[in-house]
Assembly symmetry: C4
Homo-oligomer: 278 residues x 4
């Protein structure tokens, strides 16, 4: 079938116990290009998403101001100061397995410059938020994953939010096919559409996520699983599933109104422990 | 009756489960103008109040120094650096549903300039602390909410604290009527007086709140509920009720002497989960 | 009798439930002059000590660099930037009930200048750490409390640590009498000696406190109780007692080696709740 | 026998309850030379490792930028700003019992200069990460401890990671003998080889540690125990054992993927309390 609900069974099937001899290299190094002085938190939330879901190493390309805010809560990451500018002029850290760009960013010219410089690299690219302005997706070997909320997808497609919300599956799948990108259309029942015409629907999550920052955490979780798991399709689906499952776990103890994106990664380890058991 | 004790029944009646299809836009964007380099914490406490009570998005207009302190604990907010100055010269972010101004501010000239620029905007205004100097309230369409403690109300009314405390209901109601503002007169048994002559009395809370910062948290909670709930009257009453209820929850585990304002929002989700059940 | 062991009974006798109509003014404003760029943490620990034991308001006079580190964990305080310099040239905030000076400070000339400027003020002075260099204590109305560890007391008295430790009661009492100061000689079984020849011995606490920072927390707790309780003698004794009791509480869950000064104020509320019951 | 598995019995035998009269001097002062602006977190993790395992006092030589990030979570330490440069030109704090250098450092010239300046000092030296470039170890009185992961040990020995991993015991022991250094070869079943030909194998720990930052925490734990315990051999073995035991404790509640190095020191006190009982 074209569409499938990604369920707990699928998570258990695709996420196994780690090899006892693994080391941080095993789980890959991710590059997160995110955060500006007035939106530093988005890079922290994405960074927490990646590190709390199992990435081996994380480099956060951001401003020195934002990095000083992030590092207090994410001492396990390393930082590329003025990263957006450095990447825009062509510098690129070694050994990066996947890259995410966009949370907390606003300078479209610089973003386009960075994307141009990395386009030929054979690493998956997660494109979110500030990097989801109207753009063409030239063909490239490694996969592109876009993570728009309906507003951003409206900008990308030119369709109204109303039209999109009335036909989420069809429109995502069409875009994925035409542009050869993986589309993660966020919102209740997030849709994941692949360029081969198949897709998943996610049933986890609730209105506790209806607050600034939730999407940034998801972007980091997707980057983290792409780096640390072998199959990119299940990596993306599991990140979306676990992101929502954390929200379902949190509302047991906190009212949906009170949950903030930073709480998500606090329960991620507990939630994964129940699912990944063998 | 003119006066009514706002009770648990009222909270349950007016705060319902969220729609499953809601998104961060549903719960509004608040603008918090607060915090200076020597009083950065007040903006953090108000920001936590707004985000932990359910606001959709929060923009904090403050100094870059204060924002770097706040963002470590509030990565879910975004920041308008040198916000007070920018607002004073007329810049104003899009899509703001309500604004709060005053916690941690001291520059009365700049504050007056900002209030003048926003007076015609049809958004509720919460005026607290540093913005509660002696002022006139010109008529405007959207509601004004002032949140003075007795000392600030004495400054506003010219009456002594002793006179005010001896006649809290009458004096608040009169001020509300004359100035056409909603008065939240803080202190044990906080009084909420509306311009239509009605009012609520709050019975929750205790002396654990008798410490610097408690009022800043309340201001954020009021901003948060005004943005995320439909009815402004119950939004204010519920914010005051929940603020006190958190203090009552906290003294079960910590002595009243040891509670600090930052603890309030840590138990807000637990407390709301008991009340908002259907 | 000259000497008395300060016990749980004494704490219960002297620390009562707060009046329901109290407000932050009731519990006083403390001024904490502490912290430099290379020793910012001492001011944070003392600040946490004062605010978590019940002070009404706290002003921390420190460097802008240190204040930015402190305020993230202590948003409820306000800050006087370059406070040591400002106080040294005579500026002094209004409404201060008591002052503590010394944790994390090194510039003896500036400290002496500040002490000279405040000497005539009728507010208790807690003198610790960097302010405990060799000095004379000119007569003044309000009490002086010094909080040396044996090393600092050796500097003050000219006696060796060995001599001091062999005769803690006698030497502290003599110093208190001669200099008309309250001496808190720290170490296992802390001694509190008053200028009237009486004194207390504290039996709470353990070797978990044998780590940098413990004394800074105590200084803040003493400042906090002097501001928020009526009787200075029991305020000092209770602060020392509760400081040690927190260490006894912590070792139930954490090995003595793993406790750090910042943990002390995390259990202070729980410990006080057991003692202050009526 | 040459090799021995370091077990719980050994930990209990060598780690005893503290003397009730101990004070912070008893447990030594450590100097941690670590952290740069783009890798500030490694110094925080090492600092937490040292202070949460029982060091008396800790001085962290790092950049002012990194120190402001670290001090928020480690107010109990003091800081030597621009420490690497100051130590490179010969300044050295008094009363240091042991030093660790390398986490988060990159400037090999400066590191070599510092090592040269301290080589004659009779204090144990823990050399890790950035300080583990190819180097000779001139003879010196006090012990040298190197803590390479296989990649760093390959750089030091010129052997491939594959060769090292195929013969971890033999190669570590040979290096220890030839260079007269204590080798802690990290990875599953960490090997500790001493210059006298003996060695320990550690069986605690799991793949939760396969993430950036875990090694930095270990380096701090080794520095902490060398300062606070009498015997350096058991100090190193116990640090490695406890580091892994914390990871085994953490996976009970959190999936191995979700654990970050900062979590290790959160359970260290609980874990030690079970072992150190008399
Ligand atoms: N009502 C809802 N139910 C389930 N998930 C939601 C809801 N509202 C928002 N989300 C999720 O929260 C995140 C919002 O992303 P963003 O708008 O980029 O912050 C996405 O993962 C959404 O799927
Ligand atoms: N004794 C008390 N009982 C109940 N609420 C109090 C008490 N003291 C202070 N508060 C509350 O704490 C906050 C103080 O506001 P502010 O003075 O602006 O920090 C207000 O919400 C007061 O109603
Ligand atoms: N072995 C110990 N038993 C009880 N209290 C201690 C012990 N070691 C240190 N302390 C306390 O820890 C604090 C150390 O102060 P300072 O040396 O200024 O950091 C004082 O309150 C001491 O009384
Ligand atoms: N699979 C594993 N099992 C046990 N310990 C591990 C494993 N992977 C990494 N470690 C430990 O984690 C730390 C990694 O050090 P570093 O590579 O310097 O961050 C060392 O203490 C390793 O022994
Ligand atoms: Mg987003
Ligand atoms: Mg106030
Ligand atoms: Mg001290
Ligand atoms: Mg390492």
């Amino acid at each position: 079938a074209k569409w499938k609900i990604w369920s707990e069974k699928d998570v258990k099937r695709t996420m196994k116990k780690r090899g006892s001899n693994s080391h941080k290299g095993t789980f890959g190094t991710g590059l997160l290009v995110a955060g500006t002085d007035e939106m530093p938190g988005s890079a922290m939330l994405a960074g927490l998403g990646a590190m709390k879901i199992g990435i081996g190493k994380l480099v956060i390309a951001t401003t020195p101001y934002a990095a000083s805010i992030i590092a207090t809560r994410l001492p396990e990451a390393t930082y590329l100061h003025d990263g957006l500018n450095k990447l825009a002029v062509g510098t690129f850290p070694d050994g990066i397995r996947a890259m995410a760009i966009g949370p907390g960013l606003t300078d479209e010219k610089l973003i386009d410059q960075v994307l141009e410089n990395v386009w030929e690299k054979e690493i998956p690219l997660v494109i979110d938020a500030g990097a989801l302005g109207k753009r063409e997706f030239a063909p490239r070997k490694a996969p592109i994953i876009i993570t728009p909320h309906p507003g951003e997808f409206s900008r990308l497609t030119g369709l109204s939010v109303k039209e999109i919300e009335a036909n989420r599956l069809e429109i995502s799948s069409q875009f994925a096919l035409q542009k050869n990108v993986i589309v993660v259309l966020k919102g209740a029942n997030t849709v994941i559409a692949f360029p081969n015409g198949t897709g998943f629907i996610n049933r986890t999550g609730n209105a506790a996520l209806a607050k600034g920052g939730s999407g940034d955490t998801l972007t980091g979780m997707i980057l983290g699983l792409i780096c640390s798991e072998s199959d990119i399709t299940s990596a993306i689906a599991n990140a979306v599933y676990l992101h929502g499952l954390c929200a379902d776990e949190l509302v047991k103890e906190q009212n949906e109104r009170s949950i903030v994106a930073g709480n998500i990664t606090n329960v991620l380890g507990r939630v994964m422990n129940r699912l990944i058991t063998d």
